[in-house]
């Protein structure tokens, strides 16, 4: 029996050694060939041979998967009528948010439009507070007062509902960076629909004139609501629309492409050369919002094709597996962990109470003595504190 126990013990030790060796066997970093960016008014393009470490890969994977599952959960909750109003989902575009964040620092600044849940997450918001904001609860990132389109966190200025308005705002943040001399920059995102807005061209002009550290990024997902780019823009070369501003057209489905282009643009800005423009060619699987099935202006085949050939998460997964940077089990573990995180967040978001009515009128003014707010009738006098 003691011999048998010895054998069993050795087998256990051997198994431990084998699994330890399996983890140590992973490639710690690999070089990848990525698509070359189209350039406008530039002499150089971002690198096409880029290094990704195993850690980076796992982090990008986890972040993109979190965004993906969070958005799908939001879809579910919306159909159950637990989320109401507008809900613009980001699934398909994950490589943009994750790639951009990988190319800048958390101390930099970012602003986007209403398809903002992914960015709220990459900028530091938690899934829990994002989902609770969607369900309008007091634990929401904006205490339930903003909703899907108005989420804010440090160095993240929303979440903006008016198409195009966020672009001048972002240039203003960049102006503050230059004014304060802090070597920070501001990324201002907008879609292919917004790209035709006049205020964006006004912003290009001032940003270039004053050499603001601004990166303007057009997330071109081919459709402005139900209108395809060909039907909306006389020129669909969005990366050239900044005219005198140098531009890059980037594969927005490849997180490494987005990262490299962002780093390239960030270096340009930080060197004091002024703004840069990036067009990320990407795709949204959902319609414009939850009220749009998304199949009246594009075919299901098209959606399936993008999903099959260019899904950002699948692409990263394939890269990591084929370069022995991770195992299928490891990635599955991440999937399971993400699913749990989302489930817990959804649980919180559906059980957390709604904001208290006493706080209805708060947050009108900052740093202000309390004021009285008229209710719906002359006898109802409500209180507002900062």
């Amino acid at each position: 029996i003691s011999t048998l126990l010895m054998i069993i013990k050795n087998l256990i030790v051997a198994a431990a050694v084998v699994s330890a060796r399996t983890y140590a066997d992973f490639t710690t970093e690999a070089t990848f060939e990525i698509k070359k960016c189209d350039i406008h008014k530039l002499d150089e393009a971002p690198a096409t041979q880029v290094v990704m470490t195993r850690e980076e890969g796992l982090q990008y994977y986890r972040t993109m998967q979190t965004i993906r599952r969070m958005e799908l959960k939001a879809d579910q909750l919306y159909k159950q009528k637990i989320i109401r109003g507008f809900c613009h989902l980001y699934d398909g575009q994950e490589a943009c948010a994750v790639g951009i964040e990988a190319g800048i620092n958390l101390t930099d600044h970012l602003i986007t439009a209403y398809r903002a849940h992914g960015y709220t997450y990459t900028r530091g918001g938690t899934v829990k507070e994002i989902m609770a904001e969607l369900t309008g609860r007091r634990g929401g990132i904006a205490k339930g007062k903003g909703g899907s389109m108005h989420m804010y966190t440090k160095h993240f200025y929303g979440g903006n509902g008016i198409v195009g308005a966020q672009v001048p705002l972002g240039a203003g943040v960049a102006l503050a960076c230059k004014y304060l001399g802090n070597n920070e920059l501001c990324v201002s995102l907008y879609g292919d629909g917004a790209a035709n807005q006049g205020q964006i061209f006004e912003t290009y002009n001032m940003a270039a004139l004053w050499k603001l550290p601004a990166i303007f990024i057009c997330e071109n997902n081919r459709y402005g609501m139900g209108t395809s780019v060909e039907r909306a823009a006389a020129s669909t070369d969005y990366y050239k629309r900044g005219d005198f501003i140098p531009g890059l057209r980037v594969d927005g489905m490849d997180v490494l492409c987005v990262r490299e282009a962002t780093k390239f643009a960030a270096d340009h800005c930080r060197s004091g050369k002024g703004p840069m423009l990036m067009e990320l060619q990407t795709y949204r699987y959902h319609g414009h919002s939850m009220s749009d099935p998304g199949v009246s202006y594009r075919t299901r085949e098209e959606i399936q094709e993008v999903r099959g050939k260019s899904d950002p998460i699948s692409m990263l997964k394939d890269r990591m597996l084929s370069n022995n940077m991770a195992s299928i089990e490891e990635l599955k573990e991440i999937d399971v962990a993400v699913r749990k995180e989302i489930e817990d967040a959804a649980q919180f978001a559906t059980t957390d109470p709604e904001p208290p009515l006493e706080e209805l009128c708060n947050h009108i003014f900052y740093n202000n003595p309390a004021l009285e707010v008229r209710g719906t009738n002359p006898w109802t006098k409500l209180k507002s504190v900062s």
Binding site: K145, G146, Y157, G158, C177, T203, F365, N368
Partner: protein
């Protein structure tokens, strides 16, 4: 000798008269000096010294970084100003006139006014939008609109409308120091009008609180409530009416939002009669709001007659002088309305 002594004391107690534009200039100069985060942007504010010379000398003193000439792109530069405020600066965004602010109104309302609320107190927007508002002289329909009612309609904004030079200085300093979006409505016709400045207004820390009206003239028979240029008209009307034994109490609102209803109520409860005077159009205007608020409050029971509004004529502003003059409240209109209200 006695005359010289009196004049000497007078000089000590009051300074030389100061024009409204210089009071505004001084306010901005002092605040620019006090806080490095304050800066001014707008069309012609720097090298031209300001379209109406309100920012004269500031660019020479503070340079390109803090006094910024913008292209003629209101929506763009107002948005940039709001973004800068979100990121920690304290911009003063000048509109050459508030008529042009309509191009930028989305940034003022949706990006500035509503953000602190939408973010549940996370994101403040300490910005001042300033410039001339209302009618000028002979500039016709597109350049003469009063925006007091438009902006005062919106929660999240403070709307200030100074009358004299002291108002201009004290209120602009308060507006710049306020951590919230303030719409500061000046008046082009008042820029060149000189006013005595009190001793205390000489101080670099002189501010006038936003949200408090001022009783410019005590009276017992009727409360005349006005803002901006029409305060002068009310005071002039009061002088004429006094000769006929009618004593008007003249209230200078100073702030449109938040409205100092208490001041108006206290006055109405004393005089029992209310006449509001404004340059803007009557429908859904400042006077309309005052009347509604009086109805809803304790002062209603003290009214001996319905409240009266004296306003601009409900038309786009015409050009010809005779037409323009008859499109705006004149002193005789105020006198007429007071007498009708008092039934004399």
């Amino acid at each position: 000798r006695l005359k010289n002594i009196v004049l000497g004391w007078n000089d000590l107690l009051c300074s030389k008269p100061m024009m409204v534009r210089d009071a505004l200039n001084q306010a901005m100069d002092e605040e620019l000096e006090r806080d490095e985060r304050v800066f001014l942007l707008g069309e012609e504010v720097a090298q031209y010294d300001g379209a109406y010379k309100v920012s004269r000398g500031l660019w020479k003193k503070y340079g390109d970084k803090r006094i910024i000439d913008t292209p003629i792109t209101e929506m763009g530069f107002a948005g940039i100003a709001v973004g800068a405020a979100m990121a920690g600066l304290r911009p003063i965004c000048e509109f050459m006139t508030f008529n042009f602010s309509m191009q930028a109104i989305d940034q003022i309302i949706n990006s500035a006014a509503k953000t602190y609320y939408m973010s549940a107190g996370f994101q403040a927007v300490p910005i001042v939008f300033r410039g001339p508002n209302g009618a000028s002289a002979g500039v016709a329909a597109q350049h003469s609109q009063c925006f007091a009612a438009w902006y005062a309609h919106c929660p999240g904004l403070k709307v200030v409308s100074p009358w004299n030079a002291e108002d201009a200085k004290g209120l602009l300093k308060s507006a710049i120091r306020d951590d919230n979006p303030v719409v500061f409505l000046e008046n082009e016709l008042m820029y060149g009008v000189p006013f005595e400045m009190s001793e205390e207004s000489q101080s670099k820390d002189f501010t006038i609180p936003i949200g408090k009206a001022k009783v410019e003239r005590q009276g017992t028979h009727v409360s005349l409530v006005s803002h901006s240029r029409y305060v002068s008209h009310c005071l002039d009307a009061a002088v004429v009416l006094a000769k006929e034994g009618i004593e008007c109490e003249v209230i200078n609102l100073r702030t449109i939002r938040p409205l100092d209803v208490e001041c108006i109520e206290t006055s109405v409860m004393k005089t029992n009669h209310l006449v509001t005077v404004e340059g803007g159009w009557p429908q859904f205007g400042v006077g309309a709001e005052i009347c509604a608020r009086i109805m809803e409050g304790p002062a209603f029971n003290y009214l001996d007659a319905p409240a009266t509004r004296v306003t601009g004529v409900d038309i786009p502003m015409p050009y010809a002088k005779i037409l323009e003059d008859n499109s705006l409240p004149q002193i005789k209109d105020i006198i007429f309305s007071v007498k009708k209200t008092l039934n004399v």
